[in-house]
Amino acid sequence: MSFVTIFYACIFYAASAMLIGGLAYKIYLYSRTPAPLKIPTTPAPTTTTGVVYRLGREVVFFESLFKSNKWIWIFGWLFHFSLLLVLMRHLRYFTEPVWGWVVLVQPFGKYAGFAMVAGLAGLWARRLFVERIKYISTVSDHLILLLLIGIGLSGLTIKFVAHTDIVDVKAFILGLMYFDWQPLPADPVLLVHLFLVAALMAIFPISKLLHAPGLFFSPSRNQVDNPREVRHLAPWAAELEK
């Protein structure tokens, strides 16, 4: 077993642990924290089904963002939707035999990589050149974009320029999953790609990437508008009545 293989096996276990453990902890914190008052941004749905649709529209179409800024919406949606296709395409490395629908998305996922990088570039350009957004950007905002662009470009390079042995890559990944380590091809671009992905996984629960679970816990979006019909009382607020 080469050093490279061992090193990458270790960082992927560590990154997965941080991703899953960190996210689980954050989600636990969010769900444990009560929302003492009814604060949906109105007009809001008056039923739970309505809330599911509202959140669904936010997740799928970025409804609120669409209302507020078309440029951010275009770039943001392009990036996220492409990322989804790319991730679906990558499922082929994790499944044996590869699921039918994953086979179907392969060609789309392949070109979605370009769209993804284009979306990210657009977002980054706004961060660099729009005065207001530049003002609110922190170093980490730029770095996260760079990280994602790096992942996209290295992935595209592997696909279209410097091919790697994807059969071996798949064996490595399946090996990690079943604790039966297999050697990882030591192609530099692949190593860069995988390293950046591990880094992204690791920082997910300690960065603004928490917007993903955050949306589902946002009281202004996930609450039903029925305060007159149902009494909503947080445990600590109920204590005040004793």
Partner: protein, 510 residues
């Protein structure tokens, strides 16, 4: 017109987003509350010695108590979609008035003390210690947010800067740095029962005076009862309705509606205030204490229904929070709430907005309205933020937009809406909400009114609008102050029930 000591913003030819002017409003701060005001509310009298540690502790407690605060601290991606949505930013160009930048004043401290990245890599994620400079920034800029929630409509995660502002104000109060204006008013509310500090006898005099005025004007005996046991409706209205112009004209309107519908009603001297500044300072206990007066009054007077007068934040507290705070709606389980449930008439929502009340009567044909009586008026309607984005009327989402407009159209012939992107859920704040309605904040109030005034200008120019209707005591008071700065006459400022009052034909139905 008052001579301004600052530059009143010019109407923009096109709604361009202003270029940033850093620290433009850094000097805008309300007067700090003196010790007696703070202590009456149970807060320290002045900034405590170890304020820094105490503030961080309080922040931690709020993170545990409020899911909104916790999630909003983490979820922002700095996308910038909200940056041009705040009227205070549009009017001042101060970057710290961009909603995300305002949140960031707290978030950078949150990161420093509560997150891994901020503890170990503060520079990378923009985390800072809570220093005196940061606290000063908080005091300036969290008193330049009217908690209007416009930003939350446009944020992809619904991040509501109002929640962050409330948390920041609560933290500042807890270390002894409170605002004179809001503190004083809450004190009066707790002590006397209303924001103006009017005792019961003064209220009775005022109501008698109003009864005479109505009699002189219409020849009809319309009553404005106070503390009348056994009345069907308890009306809770902002105390400004008793004294201020044009507020009082709406109060007269409510009285005429009750009169014609033949529904007995009363005001309460114990709970003579719909406003609840506990909301503005983000303090649950204060808000609850204020709301409890209303529940007490309803029980004491034996009312069957509770109706709330024209006031934005009051309606938010009443509609969204009263049931939670005091159990006046359905589902309350303590003996107090249960007694109230038995007494209240389940066929009507509790509480009910005066517009819902009047609208129902109009639908049933219970009011005799002469639209032509309002023909000298060309009307537009200002959606107050707390009604538009934090509550509802009627039984369908968005009823808060439909019902007041429908009332106006039933009582008047000439109505024109302001541009779509400045009304309904996108409405622009009057500039004086959220506890900013004080003369020491006049500059930010005038500047923050810019987008609302621009939209008004458009319908004034296009349709000759001469009546600016709203359903909020704070909006009305704010417009009285700021309309002249933008070249409008304050006579155009008024309430929806003022229009009803003009149109209603007393003596023809009852």
């Amino acid at each position: 017109m008052a001579a301004a000591e600052f530059e009143v913003p010019k109407f923009r030819e096109y709604p361009v987003i202003p270029a940033l002017r850093p620290d433009e409003m850094a000097g805008s701060k309300p007067y700090v509350a003196a010790a007696p005001i703070q202590e009456a509310l149970g807060f320290p009298g002045q900034l405590v010695d170890d304020w820094q540690a105490k503030a961080i502790t309080r922040m931690g407690e709020l993170l545990d108590k409020y899911r909104s605060f916790r999630v909003y601290m983490d979820a922002c991606v700095h996308c910038g979609a909200c940056t041009d949505k705040c009227h205070y930013f549009i009017g001042t160009a101060d970057p710290k008035n961009m909603p995300v930048a305002r949140q960031e004043l707290v978030r950078k401290v949150y990161r420093r003390y509560f997150t891994f990245a901020g503890k170990y890599f503060p520079k990378l994620v923009g985390a800072v210690d809570l220093t005196r400079d940061v606290l000063d920034d908080w005091y300036s800029y969290f008193n330049q947010c009217s908690e209007c929630r416009r930003c939350s409509v446009f944020c992809p995660y619904g991040i509501d800067t109002a929640e962050v502002t409330m948390a920041a104000r609560e933290i500042m109060d807890s270390v002894g740095l409170g605002v004179k204006y809001t503190g004083e008013i809450l004190g009066k509310l707790h002590k006397i029962g209303n924001n103006l500090g009017l005792p019961g006898p003064a209220l009775e005099d005022t109501m008698l005076g109003l009864e005479e005025d109505i009699k002189d004007e219409t020849g009809v005996d319309v009553r404005l009862p106070i503390d009348m046991k056994g009345a069907e409706v308890l009306l809770i209205t902002p105390s400004a309705d008793f004294f201020s112009e044009p507020h009082v004209d709406s109060l007269i309107g409510y009285a005429k509606v009750f009169h014609q519908a033949g529904i007995s009603w009363t005001l309460s001297s114990h709970a003579s205030e719909a406003g609840n500044f506990g909301l503005f300072i983000g303090n649950y206990e204060q808000m609850r204490k204020a709301a409890m007066r209303i529940r007490q009054a309803a029980l004491d007077l034996g009312a069957k229904r509770i109706v709330v007068g024209e006031c934005g934040h009051a309606w938010r507290v009443a509609y969204s929070f009263w049931n939670t705070l005091t159990g006046v709606g359905l589902g309350g389980e303590d003996p107090f709430a249960k007694a109230l449930q038995q007494q209240l008439d389940p066929r009507h929502p509790v509480p009910q907005h005066i517009c819902e009340f009047t609208y129902d009567l109009i639908q049933r044909g219970a009011l005799n309205l002469d639209k032509e009586a309002n023909d000298h008026r060309v009307i537009t309607f200002h959606d107050s933020c707390n009604v538009a984005r934090a509550s509802r009327m009627g039984d369908m989402p968005g009823g808060q937009f439909v019902i007041p407009r429908s009332i106006i159209k039933s009582v008047a012939n000439h109505f024109h809406d302001m541009p779509q992107d400045t009304i309904c859920e996108s409405t622009f704040c009057c500039g004086g909400g959220g506890g900013l309605l004080t003369d020491d904040l006049l500059e930010i109030r005038v500047k923050g009114a810019l987008p609302r005034m621009e939209a008004l200008k458009q319908v004034v120019d296009d349709h000759g609008v001469n009546f600016f209707a709203s359903i909020c005591a704070i909006c009305k008071a704010q417009f009285n102050k700021v309309l002249p700065f933008y070249g409008f006459d304050t006579s155009m400022n008024g309430g929806v029930h003022q229009l009803v009052s003009t149109a209603i034909q007393l003596g023809t139905k009852e």
